[in-house]
Amino acid sequence: MGGIAVAGIGKRFGATTALAEVTLEVAAGEFVALVGPSGCGKTTLMRIIAGIERPDAGQVRIGARDVTPLRPADRDVAMVFQSYALYPHLTVRQNIAVPLTMRGLPAWHRLPLAGALLPGARAARARIAQEVARVAEPLGLSALLDRRPAQLSGGQRQRVALARAVIRRPAAFLMDEPLSNLDAALRVQTRREIVEIHRRAGAATLYVTHDQAEALTMADRVAVMLGGRILQVAPPEAIYADPVDLRVAAFIGSPRINTLAAEADAGGQVRVAGLATGLRARAPGPVTLALRPEALRPAAQGLPVAAEHVEFLGDGLLLHARHLPDGAPLVARLDPASPGRVAPGERLALEFDPARALLFGADGARLPTAPAGVAAYA
């Protein structure tokens, strides 16, 4: 089984470009999360892969087959929709069976009355019933098979939608924010279930979400999409620690990454408001210094800040402060035991680990950094 591969996909709606030159691969058995803010084009990309929407340019391959001109039904994909899109007039059993009845039974077998009398129909129906039982069991739907969608809770409907997707054993799964209609507790539980289903099915899965926590916890690789472009595709750890673009760094991570305007001088020394940082850039010019909240800690020497308030999180503290020279907000994640009380307005210094500092150029692209070999904060 091959996976999903899209290459050079472009799509415009009128004057707006929804997708520009999008290229993405999901290997067989891989779970890729496509994450981005609403309106970034991720759902459009998914619809193009499913065949619901036609691309203006580019190619879609599923299972090593070029499916660009094919109808959704012929693409060997299954999709789970945000609204679940269950057939309201059918029972759970019938809903799950639809993909098989539409494919497995020839048209005359599907006729309401004649179908039951034809030779072969009974055997085919028995096979379908068996398959329904097979997928319903692990999802805990066995007792609900004769209900209608309106009689189910949100979580149950969601699982029916999953069952309907897996029953056909497609080469690729597409999931369009399947958890966004569930409450928070159920969402965390269902995350694990979806990963389980993915593992059992072994197909390529593309999972669209705007929730970075879902993307980071579930996926083998995360693709970050902004403004119709995929900015980075990498394993969750790399997306978090090693973003290639300032926008990726800003989108992933909560609280948001701290950014400070900085300047690389003629020697490449990166200075924040004149203060040396111990970092060296390749070329002089304005840069952005980005620091994860956990890379900052109070020290005798460092960036001068004024504390604003402290949030207690149980396993940590968030210190909200303002960088004194330019008023930029900074958030530091601290050990709850460490600093004692910080009073609002109190002035202190925050130092950071140069190895965890990220530098971005004026265009937002990541710049390589090197230790400056000189003392910081001098």
Binding site: A50, G51, P72, A73, A85, Y87, P88, M102
Partner: protein
């Protein structure tokens, strides 16, 4: 069920509804009463529902003897059933296409439908009559059914209703392997049951009671519809036989009333249980 203390509002509501019901029912009741009376009693100035001299046997006997009632009713069933069948056959896919498919000329097509709503059915009657006459189809079921087979009202109604169906449902159906025709008959129509029921009632009642068009294209008993049957008792020579006419009217409307009473529960159920929330 009714909590104590809210008995009075309930009683008032019941009273108002009962009075209104009586107002709506009174013509029908008067018709039924008149069908049991001899002619002189019908024209008496006093208001009495129950006849002094029971003439029911006479009136109904006259109707059954002079007119092939069963034939008329059967014609009514065929014509109304045929009209409804073709109306749904054409209007459901058309409504679906206008509501959910993107194709060039869609807005113009919908504009034409809206325009069609403005044309009263009496306007094309004469050209249609001439056309049926030319192809020799007068006095046939085809002549009774064909002019109503495409209902712009139905297309409009279904189009509005289908617009409310979520697009994701259709996308899911396409991914599940359904073609557009399967979507129309397997997904759209079952979920359009409330609209189809409402439209079915309108259509059947309108065409069962229609007098205008059958009067134009039908002669004799063979293809006459129920409404024409009632007309048989308007006689030019002897004056109208009101007792028999009312008896005929009762017989011709009875199937509709019975059908509605029998199906009432299913109609209401259909409307109540077809939850569209997926």
């Amino acid at each position: 069920m009714t909590p104590r203390g809210s008995l009075l509002p309930g009683a008032i509501r019941l009273l108002v509804l009962a009075l209104l019901g009586l107002v709506f029912l009174s013509p029908y009741l008067w018709m039924a009463a008149a069908s049991l009376k001899p002619l002189d009693e019908i024209f008496r100035a006093s208001l009495a529902l129950w006849p002094e001299n029971f003439a029911g046997v006479e009136n109904y006997g006259k109707v059954l003897a002079r007119v092939p009632v069963a034939q008329y009713l059967w014609n009514g069933v065929i014509v109304c059933g045929g009209i409804l069948f073709f109306q749904l056959l054409f209007a459901v896919p058309a409504g679906y296409a206008l509501a959910k498919l993107r194709f060039p000329g869609r807005d113009i097509a919908f504009g034409a439908v809206m325009l069609g709503l403005l044309v009263p059915p009496h306007v094309p009657a004469l050209p249609l009559y001439v056309a049926f006459s030319e192809i020799g189809l007068l006095n046939s079921y085809a002549a009774l059914i064909a002019p109503f087979a495409i209902s712009v009202f139905a297309i409009f109604l279904f189009r509005q209703f289908f617009r409310a169906l979520p697009d994701e449902l259709l996308h899911a159906a396409r991914l599940d392997g359904m073609g557009e025709w399967s979507i129309v008959w397997r997904v759209i129509l079952p979920n359009a049951w409330p609209a189809a029921t409402a439209f079915g009632i309108f259509s059947v009642v309108a065409h069962w009671n229609d007098l205008f068009w059958p009067l134009i294209v039908v002669q004799g008993h063979a293809r006459a519809t129920p409404a024409l049957g009632v007309l048989q008792f308007r006689s030019e020579e002897a004056g109208d036989d009101f007792g028999a006419m009312m008896a005929a009217a009762v017989l011709m409307t009875l199937p509709l009333v019975l059908a509605f009473l029998l199906a009432q529960r299913r109609f209401v159920e259909g409307i109540a249980t077809t939850g569209l929330k997926g």
